[in-house]
């Protein structure tokens, strides 16, 4: 179990990580979602020991790691650029840590070979041990980088945007692979990413980082369905966020007054998921338990199993409507056509002026 307590780090007075505390359990896949500049790479570098924190401590199984140099921490760090040694073969790269580590290196050539071959097999590169790292593909390089770290049996493996440099096809395959490799070895992964889909799909738990602070730590399901703050809702990239103010039980967004979920007052942001919005037929009124907003159609995007429709509201904001083709056929709208977008008010999340979610009575889960 790894604990971070009150970690802070600033670069030239600019805070990168602010008073961050976090517990990482054994044998878990933890994803860390943050936009660029949120301090996610800094956090990894602090944990790995490549940077020193200004304040705070890092404990691993009760031992204080903070004063230790990187090579004595027993953690693994998979660099975003893979950072393979260009003058060594795949085998030599993977063997590097075992052979050259300051603590307890493996001298016996047979044992070394066995361990390296085992891990190469796990990542599916058994045949490539003798290749130079310049002679393998990007996806293979990533596996070598992963194998090189995992073979040293780190207690926590830190991955800095491990899928960032892969093309979409490979990215999807590696998503499954990473989870399989992790559960086979039972090692804890701390996976940093800027991609919300990746963070949601891969993590047992996920952390959302914003301007150096952890703004939500929960299961992907929890983060997705009940974002703690409006920033989280923004990073999940599945919510329409309307700003305005509450007056007399209605949410005023521009000229429109939207119905509010019961028991909510003082909302400053009114948030509804892309797939909870539907486009009404011309002339139809929103149902009694719903709310509606007029918007102009801009474009649609066919995604295979679903269609995204983009509308522009009266305040210039973009509203997305996501329709799954299993429930509805794609519809063609005229460009500039004005339609009413409607949703069930039970689907609405409200956030106060400071961005915190306003707790709602549990009527929400009724559907």
């Amino acid at each position: 179990m790894m604990q971070l307590q009150g970690l802070s780090k600033a670069y030239a007075g600019k805070p990168a990580i602010v008073d961050l505390s976090l517990t990482v359990h054994n044998d878990e896949y933890l994803t860390l979602l943050g936009p660029s500049g949120s301090g996610k790479s800094t956090l990894l570098r602090l944990v790995a020991g490549l940077e020193r924190p200004d304040a705070g401590r890092i404990f691993l199984d009760g031992e204080d790691l903070t004063p230790r140099p990187p090579h004595k921490r027993g953690l693994g760090f998979v660099q975003q650029s893979y950072a393979l040694f260009p003058h060594m073969s795949v085998f030599e790269n993977v063997a590097f840590g075992l052979k050259n580590r300051a603590v307890n290196p493996i001298e016996d050539a047979g044992q070394l070979r066995r361990k390296v071959e085992e891990i190469l097999e796990l990542v599916g590169l058994s045949e490539l041990g003798s290749r130079g790292v310049g002679q393998i593909s990007g996806g293979q390089r990533q596996r070598v980088s992963l194998a090189r770290t995992l073979v040293t049996e780190p207690s926590v493996c830190l991955l800095d945007e491990p899928l960032g440099a892969l093309d979409a096809n490979l990215r999807e395959r590696m998503t499954v692979e990473l989870r399989r490799i992790r559960s086979t070895l039972g090692v804890t992964f701390l996976h940093v990413t800027g991609n919300e889909a990746e963070a949601l799909a891969m993590g047992d738990r996920m952390i959302v980082l914003d301007r150096g602070r952890a703004i939500q730590i929960a299961s992907p399901d929890g983060v997705f369905n009940t974002p703690e703050t409006v920033e989280v809702a923004k990073y999940i990239n599945s919510y329409n966020i309307l700003t305005g103010e509450t007056r007399e039980g209605r949410f005023l967004h521009g000229a429109a007054g939207l119905a509010m979920p019961a028991g909510v007052a003082d909302a400053a942001s009114y948030v509804v998921r892309h797939d909870a919005v539907s486009v009404l037929a011309p002339g139809a009124a929103p149902p009694d338990c719903g709310a509606g907003l007029e918007a102009r159609f801009i474009a649609s995007e066919f995604m295979g199993s679903r269609v995204l429709y983009f509308f522009q509201g009266t305040e210039g904001e973009i509203l997305q409507v996501e329709s799954h083709l299993s429930t509805a056929d794609p519809v063609t709208y005229q460009s500039g056509e004005v339609r009413t977008l409607a949703w069930d008010i039970d689907e609405v999340l409200a956030f106060d002026a400071s961005g915190r979610r306003i707790k709602q009575p549990p009527a929400q889960g009724a559907h």
Partner: protein, 303 residues
């Protein structure tokens, strides 16, 4: 109709463009021509001439194009000339070793420890500042430094470290080595610093993270990756030191004769055949040295 059209045009198509295609196809050779011409005129022909002349017959005042191996026999049976060859090789190895020992740490500092690119450039330019004065002045400036009443002896005796001046500082092989190292060390620093600065920090961080100590990282990652720089530096230094004559004569009082000095004196006394022999030998030595150095790393792959 559509099918007939190409066959009508076909003969015209093949006749005219053949000539044109020959030029298009071989245009790149045209680009090569000036370079090749230059190299043939000023490298290949002179080299061949040098080998040819080394077999000419040399008399005291004349040289005749009658082939003989006499000059070669003289060279290899004379202690003076063989001694010069051995001395050249010894001096070359000494200077090469010292420039590496001084140059590598300097380059390591500039390439790895200085994080700011501008400061790196400033430091590298600072290494070149001595070149703003002429070569001969730089060499001769060592005389008042190393001499019997030179700066070093004065400082040492004033400090009470020595009572009588050290005479072996000047006009010895030592002074030649000192002079050459000072002049050529920068050619070692430059290429190495360049290679070191190109090493991705992520590699060193990864090595640290994998548990390697600083010394292991240097041995297994940093040094191997800087090796192409070392080889390029070594080639620069070797080529210049092996052909040296000015530093040797200026700082040894003509006591240390290198192959370069021999060529100079032989040419001065119009012994062309003999100078050619020394020249051929020097060329062969350089070729062997460069080939050997290039064997160490595959420069084409590394750079």
């Amino acid at each position: 109709m559509e099918q007939a059209a190409p066959s009508v045009e076909a003969p015209r198509d093949t006749a005219a463009p053949v000539k044109e295609r020959f030029f298009t196809r071989n245009k790149h050779f045209l680009l090569l021509a000036p370079g090749v011409l230059w190299m043939v005129l000023f490298l290949i022909i002179p080299l061949a001439m040098m080998v040819y002349v080394s077999f000419w017959t040399q008399t005291t005042f004349a040289i005749k194009p009658e082939l003989t191996t006499k000059s070669w026999e003289t060279f290899f049976s004379s202690d003076t000339y063989l001694g010069a060859l051995v001395r050249t090789l010894r001096l070359w190895l000494t200077v090469l070793a010292i420039t590496f020992i001084i140059g590598y740490p300097t380059a390591l500092f500039i390439g790895q420890f200085v994080r700011n690119k501008t400061v790196q450039t400033v430091l590298l330019v600072a290494c070149v500042i001595p070149f703003w004065t002429s070569f001969l002045i730089r060499v001769l400036a060592w005389r008042p430094m190393l001499g019997k009443e030179g700066a070093i002896n004065i400082v040492l005796s004033d400090l009470g470290i020595i009572s009588t001046p050290i005479e072996s500082l000047l006009f010895t092989e030592l002074s030649v080595v000192i002079g050459m190292v000072q002049i050529y060390v920068v050619f070692m620093v430059g290429p190495i610093a360049f290679m070191l600065a190109r090493i991705d920090d992520a590699l060193i961080e990864s090595a640290r993270d994998l548990g390697a100590s600083a010394w292991t990282i240097f041995r297994k990652v940093i040094f191997p990756l800087s090796l192409p720089g070392v080889i390029v530096g070594a080639i620069f230094v070797s080529v210049m030191v092996l052909g040296e004559f000015a530093t040797a004569s200026a700082l040894s009082g003509r006591k240390v004769n290198l192959l370069g000095n021999i060529i100079l004196t032989q040419v001065g006394s119009l012994k062309w055949a003999f100078a050619a022999v020394a020249g051929v030998i020097l060329t062969i030595v350089m070729a062997v040295v460069i080939t050997g150095l290039l064997r160490v790393v595959n420069l084409r792959r590394e750079l």
